[in-house]
């Protein structure tokens, strides 16, 4: 069963599954287990099918690894080699840890996407049935066009929605005492990811130092010891690698502050119109900002406040999809325009105007003026007002003709002078009126059934399907032009023609079937 080309990454012997001894194989694309002495696998899971792995706690006697599948099933593997069980398990775990995320991302993403599209769009689904299921065109060809279109307009919004960061991710690493004067921090890959996204400076440090200067563990240990993590501690020794991070943060914060705010309604700096001159006022004994007469405690307090603001800002930035270190980059960008920012307030008034308008508006004092509707934009109003009219063997009048003749009649009526000498007899007149009334001889055309009432619904539906299928084929056809690759040429000369033939046949079959049924 094992394909020859499959690369085996890890082999672990003496692994029990369902009380049977056996061997565990980790291959490039799947994990498999076979019982001792047999050369086939009784358990085989593609990595893509595995949702996660779980391991038994350290202290437990049985050393196990559990694989949980997307379907909800799970497989328990018990490592039973006494001396090396733990090592074996960890080796398997580590390898899986590396492999699983890769597959997770790729896993069925395309298929899911296709499935989703088909489910969301009934027309597409029908088209798929008509073309692919009936083998007019191949599935690949069908999707080749679709997905690319789709990717373009979804890539921005729908591709993968970024998951925001919990503001309390640092709280989740609450230290636990391990009983003997030590602290244990639990770090998961999610938390590490959060830390990196929120604090790009830490990520940078990590890149610089791990693994050349220290191990990963050491890095995080230092991180938790640093004042950087403990927001109430103020700068300590210089050897702390994170003191630089703090400085960088401070710089980032400063540059953000310097940029100022876009919303003029919250800009406290420009709130006051005319501040009192220095020396005037009753409470100008504002706390002097110099740090000299501040106690250490006060300093640490204000550090906490600053860092909370910074933390929230960064979390927000990381969540809103912007690059977390954007403020730094932006700072340079905008500061260059900042020099003549007064000139740039040509841009400012609109925002300001809108904001002010927002604020002064009392929506409930206004009369509601109906629901907002989208205006119907007709390219050919003729077709809209008439609909498909059954072709009659008479002259076709355009709406322009009708309008003209109506105008003519209007004019004639306006200038109508009764000629009392030449009136009809009353019986003829009533006859004419009857003929002109709805249901009369002359008004028959109006009473005629519209075509959509004449044709039964199922026929309409089928016709529609055929029509869209043909349209899709045409789309394929036209998309081949200009023919600039060999592939396109082949497609055009080769099977497209067949396809058309096939579609035509299909239509023909339908037609004859209809005719048969009718007669």
């Amino acid at each position: 069963m094992a394909a020859l080309s499959e690369e085996v990454l890890l082999v672990v012997k003496r692994v029990r599954q369902r009380k049977q001894d056996g061997t565990l194989y980790l291959m490039a694309e799947r994990i498999a287990w076979g019982p001792e002495g047999k050369d086939r696998f009784t358990v085989s899971h593609l990595y893509a099918d595995i949702r996660c792995q779980k391991i038994s706690p350290d202290g437990k006697a049985k050393i196990q690894l559990q694989l949980v599948l997307h379907t909800g099933e799970s497989t328990n593997l018990h490592f039973s080699n006494e001396s090396t069980a733990l090592k074996d398990r960890d080796a398997a775990k580590d390898l899986l840890q590396q492999l699983l995320p890769k597959f997770k991302k790729r896993a069925n993403k395309e298929l899911e996407e296709k499935n989703r599209m088909l489910q969301e769009d009934p027309v597409l689904f029908q088209l798929y049935k008509d073309l692919v299921v009936c083998q007019v065109i191949s599935a690949e060809e069908f999707w080749a066009n679709r997905l690319s279109i789709n990717n373009v307009d979804h890539s921005l919004s729908n591709n993968k929605q970024e998951v925001g960061i919990s503001a309390a991710f640092l709280a989740d690493i609450r230290p636990q005492t391990d009983g003997c004067n030590g602290l244990r921090y639990n770090l998961t890959s999610d938390i590490i990811e959060s830390i990196f996204r929120t604090y790009p400076a830490v990520k940078q440090k990590y890149g610089e130092n791990v693994p050349h200067n220290m191990t990963e563990k050491e890095f995080w240990t230092r991180f938790f010891q640093s004042h950087y993590f403990h927001r109430d501690r103020i700068n300590t020794g210089l050897q702390d690698i994170f003191s630089e991070c703090a400085k960088q943060d401070e710089k980032g914060l400063k540059s953000m502050v310097f940029q100022g705010v876009k919303n003029p309604m919250v800009d406290l700096l420009s709130l006051e119109d005319k501040s009192l001159d220095e020396g005037y006022g009753s409470n100008s004994t504002a706390p002097s900002t110099s740090n000299t007469n501040k106690t250490v405690k006060e300093n640490s307090n204000s550090a906490i406040i600053k860092r909370f603001n910074h933390h929230s800002t960064m979390v927000l930035a990381a969540g809103s999809g912007k690059k977390a270190d954007a403020p730094n980059g932006q700072a340079c960008e905008t500061s260059s325009t900042d020099g003549n920012s007064r000139d740039s307030d040509f841009f400012q008034p609109p925002i300001k105007k809108v904001k002010i308008q927002d604020v002064i508006e009392y929506e409930d004092l206004h009369r509601e003026n109906g629901k907002k509707t989208v205006a119907l934009n007709l390219k050919k109003s003729d077709r809209y007002s008439h609909g498909p009219v059954p072709l009659l063997p008479q002259q076709y009048t355009t709406s322009q003709d009708i309008v003209n003749s109506v105008n003519c009649i209007k004019q004639e009526i306006a200038s109508y002078k009764p000629c009392l000498t030449q009136v009809m007899s009353s019986s003829t007149a009533s006859c004419a009126i009857a003929a002109l009334s709805p249901g009369g001889v002359l008004m028959q055309a109006l009473a005629q059934q519209a075509i959509n009432q004449m044709v039964p619904n199922d026929v309409q539906g089928e016709l529609k399907h055929l029509y869209t299928a043909a349209g899709e084929l045409l789309r394929h056809f036209w998309s081949c032009f200009p023919v600039n690759t060999l592939f396109l040429e082949e497609k055009l000369t080769g099977h497209l023609e067949d396809m058309f033939q096939m579609a035509y046949n299909k239509f023909h079959a339908w037609q004859t079937r209809r005719m048969m049924r009718k007669t």
Binding site: A167, L268, E298, D364
Partner: protein, 760 residues
């Protein structure tokens, strides 16, 4: 719609009207009819501004000779711009309804920083720099010098305006700050000077308090405004503090050092001028002998508003001989400076009255009262004569001269306190001389005397009777309006206890108590879990907030709060806070939700609104009493007791409650808005505190919502929020809190409206 307010046709630019707006206009109309002053309290978010504008504009059109001008004073730049935009809306409505073009000129005026279009000057960051730079380009003698030396820099906008701008008045219309700038750019005129010039003939001016209340600025800008104006002070709940601030002076050692340097520069300049251009000094001397006649004549003919710094008496006299020549004056100032320096060399706190100070100065250095009174005027004249380019450099000596004039002019209403060090740091010598005004009526008196109607209005003016007392005027109308509500969209709750029954209070004795801090933290935590979007929390002071935040951090409360919402915290730095605010709004906007920790009496509590989802709950931690140990405050309280018979405690509570009301009122900005108001201190439950809250909050504070525990609060809040989250349509309001014209005219509605205004 068109309204009939007791016979006056008022155009109101909306299809519907709130009942209280109608009632407000009625009271306002009566005030204008009586040509008196008024105190009107109406909750924010009920369209106070548009009611004011609609009525006064209508009044102005109907009786153009009775009311020639509306002077609308607001507090912040965004407020000013908002008012002008509302006015624009009204004017558009007018021209739509009447079909004729408006001939009303309305404009906003702000400092140079907000109006300058000069590319170099306007790029400066701080208002003071802009003023100084502008002055150095446009001062009259600099321009005179330019005649002889054309290479000197100039401001082409000012030159252009000076040459052309005054011939044709600004065309009628509504000009916001940006419109003025745009107009200025187009014409090549300086918008600032254009605006300052145009306010003389504008029908409506919108600017900030300082232009009327700060004598230094009012003297420059507003003194020629017509007597037949209606003055409106919006958001006036803090007006007494603005008055006091504008008249108070603080002198530190640094001020004295800088004044010393100023005096030396003056001396050198005088010497130089004496050699080159002695005639100039003589000319000045002659002018001083003739006295301040011009100013006196102007004031008597009622063109100028009086300046409280420059009292009437001194206008009738000439500058006394002892300081008439420039050298004598400089010598005089030197002596005065030396005296002040000596006074600052103390080791214990000194408090004395102005007469005591004058007596002392006479005994020690033989400085008389009379020359002191002329100090400010004399210095201004000297600076003008010496052609000093950068006035900003001389701010220190100007301050000292203003102090000299004030201290010798007012024997009452001021106190002098000299403190050798700050209370918190008794080891560091940092002597300060506070010359502090205790009587807000001094600064505002000229306004009440000059203008025929002054309206003081705000969302929180309770208790109403206190303002006329402390500002010393007799209003013809005093009224408080409630908010008619179709649904109770505000929910004030007083939380007095934690779940452990420990009382929650920011009382000084217990505020550091561990249990109190923990309970406050639990309250915030619980609320963060149930309130959607934004929560704003206010603390009584910045240091208190710092301490609490630190201990919350230690106890891990903040981390748990972070699980629910992001946390942003106000800092003393305005720029940092602005950024935090913006991020806070962003977080509310994108659905994450956030908490803003802020400080009562801070900038956020005074100037930022938290509409709709930006503030679904406000938590007021503690009662925001002012720092009572301050000597200045003590002196003021004493003064209030002696002069106005206001008891210390009454005033302190009044002050605390108006700030608390301001804070919690930030969340409700309209009838479609809703929010919780949580007063986290058991003292709010007491009648003396509760009774001082504005009526529109008090109404909804039932006995059942007093002294709750945290759990009870959570239950009530959940219920309230769930109810409020139901869709709320216009039809629900119509007929109750929102009226059509027909509904307004019905008999029983008019009766109901009459009850809205609550006469104090």
């Amino acid at each position: 719609m068109k309204l009939n307010i007791e016979g006056l046709l008022v155009y109101f630019p909306y299809d519907y009207i709130y009942p209280e707006q109608y009632s407000y206009m009625l009271e306002l109309k009566r005030t204008l009819d009586a040509k008196g002053h008024g105190v009107l309290e109406m909750p924010s978010g009920t369209g106070k501004t548009i009611s004011l504008l609609s009525l006064i504009v209508a009044y102005q059109r109907e009786y153009p000779l009775e009311v020639t001008k509306l002077i609308y004073c607001s507090r912040t730049v965004p407020e000013i711009e908002k008012v002008v935009e509302e006015l624009r809306k009204l004017m558009e409505f007018y021209s739509k309804e009447t079909g004729e073009k408006n001939n009303i000129l309305a404009l906003a005026l702000s400092s140079r920083k907000n109006l300058c279009v000069h590319p170099e000057v306007s790029s400066l960051r701080f208002g003071k720099e802009v003023d100084g730079k502008c002055h150095s380009l446009t001062a009259s003698y600099i321009r005179a010098q330019r005649h002889s030396n054309p290479s000197l820099p100039s401001c082409r906008f000012y030159e252009e305006f000076d040459a052309m701008g005054k011939q044709v008045p600004l065309p009628a219309g509504v000009y916001n700050l940006d419109d003025l700038k745009e107009f200025g750019r187009r014409k090549g005129w300086c918008p600032y000077y254009l605006a300052r010039y145009s306010i003389l003939h504008a029908n409506i001016i919108v600017y900030s308090y300082h232009y009327l209340l700060d004598p230094k600025i009012a003297d420059l800008v507003s003194k020629e405004l017509s007597k037949k104006s209606v003055v409106v002070f919006d958001e006036a709940h803090n007006i007494d503090n603005v008055c006091i601030d504008s008249m108070s002076v603080n002198i530190t050692r640094r001020t004295l050092d800088r004044s010393q340097a100023n005096v030396e520069t003056l001396q050198n300049t005088i010497l130089k001028i004496k050699e080159t251009d002695a005639a100039k000094l003589k000319e000045e001397y002659r002018r001083l002998v003739e006295g301040l006649k011009e100013a006196n004549v102007a004031r008597e003919t009622d063109i100028y508003m009086s300046n409280p710094v420059l009292p009437d008496e001194i206008l009738q006299e000439a500058v006394p001989g002892s300081i008439r020549t420039a050298e004598h004056f400089v010598g005089f100032m030197k002596r005065f400076l030396e005296y002040l320096k000596a006074r600052l060399r103390i080791h214990h706190v000194v408090q004395e009255s102005a007469p005591q100070f004058l007596k002392d100065i006479f005994e020690k250095v033989c400085i008389d009262r009379k020359p002191l009174r002329f100090c400010a005027e004399r210095l201004r004249s000297l600076l003008r004569t010496l052609e000093i380019a950068d006035i900003a450099d001389f701010s220190a000596i100007t301050l000292i001269s203003n102090f000299a004039t004030l201290v010798s002019t007012y024997s009452k209403g001021f106190t002098i306190i000299i403190e050798p060090f700050e209370d918190r740091t008794p080891t560091i010598a940092n002597p300060v001389l506070h010359f502090s005004c205790m009587d807000p009526s001094i600064a505002i008196k000229p306004v009440f005397e000059r203008f025929q109607s002054v309206i003081i209005t705000s969302g929180t003016l309770s208790p109403l009777d206190i303002y006329p007392r402390i500002l010393d005027f007799r209003p013809v109308t005093v009224a408080s309006f409630t908010m008619t509500l179709a649904r109770t969209c505000l929910c004030p709750l007083v939380v007095g206890r934690g779940n452990d029954q420990v009382a929650m209070t920011s009382k000084f004795e217990t505020r550091e108590d561990f249990a109190v801090i923990r309970n406050y933290g639990n309250l915030l935590l619980e609320m963060s879990a149930i309130v959607p979007d934004g929560i704003v929390a206010f603390f009584t002071s910045y240091t208190y907030m710092e301490n609490i935040v630190a201990s919350w951090y230690e106890q891990g409360i903040l981390e748990n709060v972070q699980r629910n919402k992001l946390i942003f915290i106000e800092t003393p730095d305005a720029a940092e806070t602005s950024m935090a605010l913006e991020k806070y709004q962003e977080a509310c906007e994108n659905g994450r939700g956030a908490i803003l920790l802020s400080v009562a009496r801070g900038k956020v509590s005074e100037g930022i609104d938290f509409v709709h989802h930006f503030g679904r709950a406000v938590i007021m931690f503690g009662v925001p009493y002012v720092y009572t140990q301050s000597r200045i405050l003590k002196a003021r309280l004493e003064y209030l007791r002696d002069q106005f018979q206001i008891r210390e405690n009454d005033f302190l509570t009044f002050d605390a409650m108006r700030h608390a009301a301001q804070c919690v009122g930030r969340a409700i900005r309209g009838k479609t808005d809703y929010g919780l108001m949580i007063f986290a201190d058991k003292r709010y439950a007491r009648a003396d505190k509760r009774g001082k809250l504005p009526r529109w909050i008090q109404e909804h504070l039932t006995d059942g919502s007093l002294n709750l525990t945290i759990d009870e609060t959570v239950q009530l809040s959940k219920h309230f929020l769930r109810q409020m989250a139901q869709p709320f349509r216009q039809e629900d309001q119509l007929g109750l809190s929102l009226l059509t014209l027909e509904q307004l005219q019905s008999e029983d509605m008019l009766q109901k409206i009459a009850q809205i205004a609550h006469q104090a």
